[in-house]
């Protein structure tokens, strides 16, 4: 039974939301009015009205349709324009990059208007100058230089941390590794899961991290422990099932989700430092059919609500957005970020070398 007090509180809440909406809307409209370039983009986006988003389904069990609806709502809330977001997520990241690049080279508009890639997997598009330029910082007051990658062409919407993960039923927290070197202990022989991706090793190979020599020496020792190789889903499942009680690296956020939301007996070895950064970005490929609408949707993902949406559906946020879980974790840790120029210059050769060791060539 509702009493007067609860009705009043409900009324107050509604009023607050309405006032908040109008304040925000007026701020955005004021910003748009004050920024003719933004106003022009909004006007064009209104005509474009939809985008094809190359991005993943939710990492949680929430419906894809809800995620797309919320992306539309956040965009509408900030820019006053209704844009329909269609998702196209069947391909893996490298294949989507090739598809877009092939289309662009053939003179066709790319299938995707807004692309979601890792800073490394999409690098061929950046290297081939196949990314639309938007003066993001100039256009959107909430975007800072730190939020950008690829020389200011891509928006960082998520930063994930690669950390060891372990099965709590089989490894006590006090026995979990405290450093990357701890994992080389022979006690983990045959009990270790290892990712097949070269990414973490490319990050560690950077001169500002371990450098190539130390990285390769470490990797060779690690391989002697006969780790079970796999992609993220297989390595994660093996830790959950206890088949390999320790994973050399997993996305910290996914482990937390499995622990907190599903109740799985897994945890991160958070003492291990430095944490390796895995950066997910949003960008508009060159010649996209709906570039302005895509830019608005992409920018909206860096707002406070956009980041809440990322957390809700992708269990990840950007450490460059204030007060996000990623920012709070990064504030207390040493993290190593991938340097895209290094990846473009040295990535192909290093990847082959890393693959040789991983594959046992």
């Amino acid at each position: 039974m509702w009493n007067f007090g609860s009705l009043r509180r409900f009324g107050e809440a509604i009023a607050l939301v309405v006032v908040g909406y109008f304040v925000l809307a007026s701020t955005v409209h004021a910003a748009a009015a004050a920024n003719p370039k933004l106003a022009a983009i909004i006007q064009k986006a209104t005509q474009e009205a939809e985008i094809v988003y190359q991005g993943p389904d939710p990492a949680t069990s929430l419906p894809t349709a809800d995620m797309l609806r919320d992306m539309e709502l956040v965009t509408e809330k900030y820019f006053g324009v209704k844009i329909r977001v269609k998702v196209d997520n069947a391909l893996g990241f490298p294949a989507a990059t090739t598809k877009a690049l092939t289309e662009i080279k053939s003179g066709a508009p790319p299938t995707y208007d807004l692309m979601y890639q890792t800073v490394v997997s999409g690098a061929p598009l950046y290297a081939d100058k196949a990314v639309e330029h938007f003066p993001w910082v100039e256009l959107f007051p909430f975007i800072k230089a730190d939020d950008l990658e690829w020389n200011g062409q891509a928006l960082i919407n998520q930063t994930l941390f690669v950390q060891p993960a372990y099965n709590k039923n089989l490894i006590k927290p006090k026995d979990a590794p405290k450093s990357w070197e701890d994992i080389l202990n022979s006690r983990w022989k045959g009990k270790l899961g290892l990712l097949i991706y070269p990414d973490p090793w490319l990050v560690l190979s950077q001169p500002r991290a371990w450098g190539e020599e130390k990285t390769f020496a470490y990797l060779k020792k690690l391989i002697e422990l006969k780790p079970k190789l796999g992609r993220f889903p297989e390595v994660h499942e093996r830790v959950v099932s206890g088949e390999t009680p320790l994973a050399w690296g997993q996305h910290r956020e996914r482990t937390l989700y499995a622990r907190d939301q599903l109740g799985a007996p897994v945890d991160n070895a958070d003492d291990v430092s430095p944490a390796l950064l895995w950066i997910n970005i949003l960008f508009v490929p060159k010649g996209a059919r709906h570039p302005n609408a895509a830019a608005l949707v992409g920018a909206a993902m860096l707002t406070k609500e956009g980041q809440e949406l990322q957390l809700k559906y992708q269990v990840a946020t950007s450490m460059y957005s204030p007060d996000t879980p990623a920012a709070k974790f990064a504030a207390k840790r040493k993290v190593i970020k991938p340097d895209v120029e290094f990846v473009i210059e040295k990535g192909p050769a290093l990847s082959k070398k890393i693959s040789s060791i991983l594959l046992g060539k």
Partner: protein, 568 residues
Amino acid sequence: MVKKRSAALFPVLAVAVGGALLILVPLLATGWISFMVGVPGYGNYTLSNYKQVLLDSFGYRVLLNTFQFALGSTAMALVVGAPLAWSVARTDFPFRHAISLLLGMVLVIPGFLQAMGWALMLSPNIGILNRLLIETFGLEEAPFNIYSLTGMTFAQGLSLVPPAFFILLPVFQGMDSSFEEAAFLSGAGKLRTFFRVNLPLAAPALLAAAIYVFVLAFALFEVPAVLGFPDRIFVFSTMLYFLVHIQQGTLPEYGLAAAYGSIVMIASLVMAAYYSGLVKQGRKYATITGKGRRARILRLGKWRSLAFSLVSVYFLLALVLPMLILFYYSLLPFFKLPSWDAFSSFTFKNYVNVYTRQGLRPLINTGILVALVPIVVVLISTPISWIVVRSRLRGRFVLDNIAFLPLAVPRIVLSVSLLYLALMGRDLIPIYGTISLIVIAHIIAFMSFATRTLNGMIMQIHTDLEDAGRLCGASLVRVLRKVTGPLLKPALFSAWFWVMLLSFREVTMAVMLSSADSMVLPAQIWVLWNRALPHDAAAAAVLLAGIALILMLVTRRVIQRLSTPGGF
């Protein structure tokens, strides 16, 4: 006379050549891409891909692994599949009507989930069976290790029985029982008759099945990925996956993958040439003549119980256990070994998620695929097989080899070629990004199966029957429609049924070619798996299997006739 004959052949030849061209164009594109590095179609021309293929010692090691894996799983598929097909086609084997249906179910369970199921059973660390044996017999270490070449071969061999079965079934059914009766009259037993009469008569079909399954095993990815990757046992497909999916900072090495594919294509051509030699001697294998044919059921007698037990063991391993594990997996929020705690955490949420994620679109698209692909494949494959086996046209075996080749090309490479061609021709034929492109890809890829099935059966039909029709004044098309077609019914249905299932569960091409509007159910399962949502993926796979079961139940009368000697 020659002119008249060519004119009569024209309609059949036109369809066959059209089908061959449909296959040939993307294959040529594959060859083209193999000479490139960089963006497919826009990179630099080079021989470096072939140089790497031929000089890389790792490649040879992988090839040796692949050879052992493919040979072992093919042997297993034939050892189980051939007697099973014979039992269903020729004997009073109990519940034989259900065998085709059950084998169809084996086929639709996604390979990576089957492999995960085997890992849960036979992993040295957590395998349920290993743990049971260790505890029961006080062993020091696990007796089985599924993460080995033998383990992979075993798991893959079980799932390759259906293709061998579906290729051989119509052939055994087409055999005239008078051959067997003659053997019995000469004092041969049932086993001796099977080995000395049935098997030799089915030799071309056996060889076709062996080549088909062998080449198929060469390209299969899911089982080696789950069971081979962990201990770095690489086969051809997992190496290609590495080249195409795991390169960092550069584009995937499609050129190198295409070069590997081209080498396998050449190897397949050698095998296909040997097969063509057998087809040339086709008359030797003709068992369906104009003299009338009796389809008699052989009584297995004392062998019946043994045969039933062996088949039950197969289905227990290939279907019941994987399905149970799949179902169990689909009900869990996260993985737990079977226990009361695990049972109490069962939830149907994963099933709800499957629907709410994508709605009905993947289901509708999958429906379009299974409605169109098998019919078109059968319509194109029949003229190709007829020309290859029946006509005396020069170069007819080229048609057969072309139809066979797509099997040898890694599907990921075939998809890239098609993607590129569709992109180039998008103004002329606007199929890029639509379900039509996936339909075409499936038609190309699955023609090899249909032609293998139909070749074997056409060889069994004696030319006298068609000659009689022609002498009565019927056109070639009419003879095909009124004489050959009805006699081919079991093979036509077998090809249709099998292609439908293949199309229903195909993942690789669907993943590469689908877009927002053309997502299909198997691609959705793959996406879920990749998003580290294996329980949602398992739920989608159970639904996929459920839909397959409904499809098969709807067509059960035809399946029953398929399993009945003389049923068609």
